[in-house]
């Protein structure tokens, strides 16, 4: 009789072997970049200054931290060598867990190296220092909008409805938000208006996807195009002749006493506008709701196995309608948050942020916590594009503008790997 041999290795891996090697390879490439361009691209005598006190101290300055003056070449050399070590470790040892964390670590080293190199004395940059706090605060705006977008997406997709129309919900919410904010000077009212418009768009998506079982990707793309054209149309017919409806007013920051004095973290997390604080509530509520409550369990059941949910009496269509409308509302609020960031409404000014939010939620494995991490990463890279321009980095501005999109593509193809969406995501639900 055949003998049974014990299997060699049944270790559950986070990332398959091949992809881990690829990621390790990318890490090594990044490390070499750091060493070649950053370390040896800087002259031996150059120094870089890292500061921590924000330049803009309106609303109260945090406690002061000294500046950090670094020898450019040596510090980037060190960063590069650490990165090289991490990359080699990943490539050779092929760890079963925490591969993405290692990659994140190397990315942070890369960013630090980039900063140090950009502001080195003797380089083309007009200023010699990089303010960490400013960088983070600048990135936080985009990150905030991305978080709203990915929460909107998670709300819909966990129930099984693909929401490509987040971009459209942003635009719709922004348009209405700008009008209401300009006329009433109240961003609270603007938020309500944005939520209503977003909910309406969510309802349209739900209507076509659930009732008529249309392909959700097509409906989503069409909705974005329609809203884009509609807002462009209305911008030309209303906002341009009646400038008072698009004044560009933005909400003021609300500092939280004492907490906002903490260096770096204070201005970043505790001295922001209302939308930022609302975002904390949103993420917290969604995490709690989806994974700890009865409501969340039912939503996830509908998204994974609607037949099973129906067989215990859960109203699948009702859940999907509710979640898609609520998701749309969140998207709409995200649009108003974008206005809070930008001021004036310009047609198409969201520039694909809604789609990047979609990539963020996929990268975050449909969990609010993961989506937040992904949004932070994308937010930083978006900021890079605009931020680096003022430092006279020798790359043309159009090329820099491509970065957020290229990074998104790289993440979606290289780093994400096989993901498990909610099993019934995008599949129209058929019942007798």
């Amino acid at each position: 009789m055949t003998t049974v041999t014990t299997p060699t290795e049944n270790v559950r891996r986070d990332t398959p072997v091949g992809r881990t090697r690829v990621i390790g390879g990318i890490m090594i490439a990044m490390a070499i970049f750091i060493l070649w361009i950053f370390a040896f691209g800087a002259s031996a005598k150059a120094t870089s200054i890292i500061t921590f006190n924000p330049l803009n101290t309106s609303g109260g300055a945090p406690w002061s931290l000294g500046n950090l003056t670094l020898p450019s070449r040596i510090s980037t050399l060190i960063l590069g060598l650490i990165a090289l070590g991490a990359g080699l470790e990943t490539m050779i040892r092929i760890p079963a867990r925490r591969v993405m964390a290692r990659f994140g670590f190397v990315s942070v080293l890369f960013l630090l190296g980039l900063f140090v190199w950009t502001v080195r004395s003797g380089g083309p940059s007009p200023t010699n220092f990089m303010d960490v706090t400013d960088v983070l605060v600048n990135a936080s705006g985009i990150t905030m909008v991305l978080i709203y977008g990915s929460m909107a997406g998670i709300m819909c997709e966990r129930a099984g409805v693909v929401n490509i129309a987040i971009e459209g919900q942003f635009l719709g919410g922004a348009f209405v938000g700008a009008i209401v904010a300009s006329s009433t000077n109240s961003f609270v009212l603007a938020t309500v208006a944005g939520a209503v418009v977003g909910a309406l768009l969510g309802w349209v998506l739900a209507f076509f996807a659930i009732r008529y079982r249309s392909d959700q990707v097509i409906v989503g793309v069409v909705l974005v195009t329609m809203i884009g054209s509609l807002t462009n149309f209305l911008n030309l017919t209303f906002l341009t002749p009646y400038q008072q409806y698009n004044t560009g007013v933005t909400p003021s920051s609300i500092p939280i006493p004492l907490l906002d004095k903490i260096p770096v973290v204070g201005p970043l997390l505790f001295n922001q506008n209302m939308f930022f604080y609302l975002m904390y509530l949103l993420v917290g509520a969604m995490s709690f709701g989806l994974f700890k409550t009865k409501w969340g369990l039912r939503v996830r059941a509908v998204g994974e196995h609607p037949q099973a949910a129906a067989s215990v009496g859960i109203r699948v269509k009702g859940v999907r309608y509710f979640n898609t409308i609520l998701g749309g509302a969140i998207g709409g609020v995200g649009g108003v948050a974008f206005i809070a960031l930008h001021g004036q409404f310009n047609p198409g000014f969201t520039s694909g942020l809604g789609y990047i939010a979609l990539a963020a939620l996929i990268f975050g494995r449909w969990r609010p916590s993961g989506a937040v991490v992904a949004s932070i990463i994308f937010g930083l890279t978006s900021m890079l594009a605009s931020g680096l321009q003022s430092f006279n980095v020798p790359v043309s501005s159009e090329i820099l503008g491509m970065f957020p999109y290229i990074i998104t593509i790289a993440v979606v193809s290289g780093l994400i790997g096989r993901v498990r969406a909610p099993a019934a995501d995008g599949i129209p639900y058929k019942q007798d």
């Binding site: 693909v162 490509i164 076509f208 008529y212 079982r213 249309s214 392909d215 959700q216 990707v217 097509i218 409906v219 793309v221 069409v222 909705l223 195009t225 329609m226 884009g228 054209s229 509609l230 462009n232 149309f233 209305l234 030309l236 017919t237 209303f238 198409g348 520039s351 694909g352 789609y355 990047i356 979609l358 990539a359 996929i362 043309s396 159009e398 090329i399 503008g401 491509m402 999109y405 290229i406 998104t408 593509i409 979606v412 193809s413 290289g414 994400i416 790997g417 096989r418 993901v419 498990r420 969406a421 995501d425 995008g426 599949i427």
Partner: protein, 414 residues
């Protein structure tokens, strides 16, 4: 079950794909009319006054119809023909130029639209969604303009090579999402959407920071394509009749599309993959090969469309080339969905929607209504075509065989 076979008329009144397409277009125009009404200050004012006088509602209706009528009339005369001008030409034998220009414009713009729509239709038949077609067309236009304006060759080589450049650029750009999807399972919707933004930046970059820029000025304008690379027009260049060989190329592409999808073995593989990717794989079809070939062909056709677009109209690029509402990628989606991916239907659909775009520009010039209305109408048409059950309900059609479109782009991983 009905006893007799339904009559032809009864068949038309049932929910079959042809009727649905026709009615979807009708509904699209209704939506457009509603947008015109609700965005026109005069019309809205008239409606708020309907209770103030006995004929109020009639007045409001009249004003509404006047506005909508003026808009749609401008669209028609701008894209097909203006009856008075045409009559004048017929009776006096003069003014043919003005009479035929609208139709010529429609055909001129229909050519690239038909080409790109065939490409999108092929991708749809395979269950893939090439939303990046517009970006591929832009890149094709850039490559074609570069070759056509910066290299000097006799026409019989120059023109074909210029077109080929466009095809190659589009195919290369289409290869990116194709390869990524085949090798890593990356979702082509997100990748192509991102690439559309990348290419918009690249367009500006090429027009401002590379030798493609028109010398002697600092705006985002390109050099002009040399006459040896321009698509010859059918009428003399002294007239405003721009219809050119592009339409012949379009017809050839449509024929190719028909042969490919209905007769070729590769097309069969594509259709099987689109209908059931699992069975396709089990029957020996290599899904990775299919994905890459689809994007190559679809991208190549999109690139060709881009070259034909620039080469048959302005002969030079600017920063707004195929951007926003001037984009043909989204219209291609509408046209192929409407034509249910069948090449001959796609051809007629391209002419129809080219008319919509051309007429829309005239409408914008004459009535001030923004060109975006055309895109809004298109979006509505797509929604209705993708939801035949809704159209059936609205018009209370009998049961027919409905053709619902389901792509294989559900699910984010593979």
């Amino acid at each position: 079950m009905t006893d007799a076979k339904p009559t032809l008329w009864q068949r038309y009144l049932s929910a079959n794909p042809v009727t649905i397409s026709f009615l979807a277009i009708l509904l699209g125009f209704v939506v457009g009319a509603l947008v015109i009404i609700f965005s026109s200050a005069d019309v809205m004012h008239a409606w708020t006054q309907i209770f103030n006088s006995p004929g109020g509602i009639f007045h409001a209706l009249k004003v509404s119809l006047d506005n909508v009528g003026a808009a749609y009339r401008a669209m028609f005369t701008g894209s097909v023909v203006d009856p008075t001008i045409f009559w004048h030409a017929l009776t006096t034998g003069q003014g043919w130029n003005a009479a035929l220009t609208p139709l010529s414009e429609t055909l001129t713009y229909a050519a690239p639209l038909a080409i790109i729509s065939i490409g999108v239709a092929i991708s749809f038949e395979t269950g893939l969604f090439n939303i990046g077609a517009n970006g591929q067309a832009i890149l094709g236009g850039i490559a074609g303009t570069a070759f056509g304006s910066m290299i000097n060759l006799p026409m019989y080589i120059h023109l074909p090579l210029t077109l080929l450049c466009g095809v190659a650029a589009g195919a290369f750009f289409g290869l990116i999402p194709g390869v990524l999807k085949a090798l890593t399972g990356a979702h082509e919707v997100i990748v192509t959407l991102m690439l559309n933004y990348v290419v918009a930046f690249f367009l500006l970059y090429s027009l401002l920071s590379t030798p493609l820029q028109l010398p002697g000025q600092a705006n985002d304008l390109s050099r002009v394509i040399l006459p040896s690379a321009q698509l010859p027009t059918f009428f003399s260049t002294a007239t405003t009749l721009r219809v050119n060989w592009g339409i012949l190329i379009a017809i050839a592409v449509v024929a190719f599309g028909w042969w490919f999808l209905n007769r070729s073995t590769m097309g069969f593989d594509f259709r099987v993959t689109g209908a059931n990717p699992n069975a396709a794989r089990a029957s020996g079809i290599n899904p990775k090969k299919v994905i890459i070939y689809v994007f190559l062909i679809s991208g190549g056709l999109a690139g060709l469309a881009g070259v034909v677009q620039v080469d048959g109209t302005t002969h030079a690029l600017d920063g707004g080339f195929l951007i926003g509402s001037a984009g043909i990628g989204f219209t291609a989606i509408t046209v192929s969905l409407l034509g249910r991916n069948k090449p001959i239907n796609v051809f007629w659909g391209a002419i129809l929607f080219s008319a919509l775009g051309v007429g829309g520009r005239i409408m914008q010039a004459e009535t001030g209504i923004p060109l975006d209305l055309a895109t809004i109408i298109q979006s509505a048409v797509v929604l209705f075509v993708a939801t035949p059950v809704l159209v059936q309900e609205i018009f209370r059609l009998r049961e027919g065989n409905l053709h619902t479109i389901q792509l294989n782009t559900k699910g984010w991983g593979t």
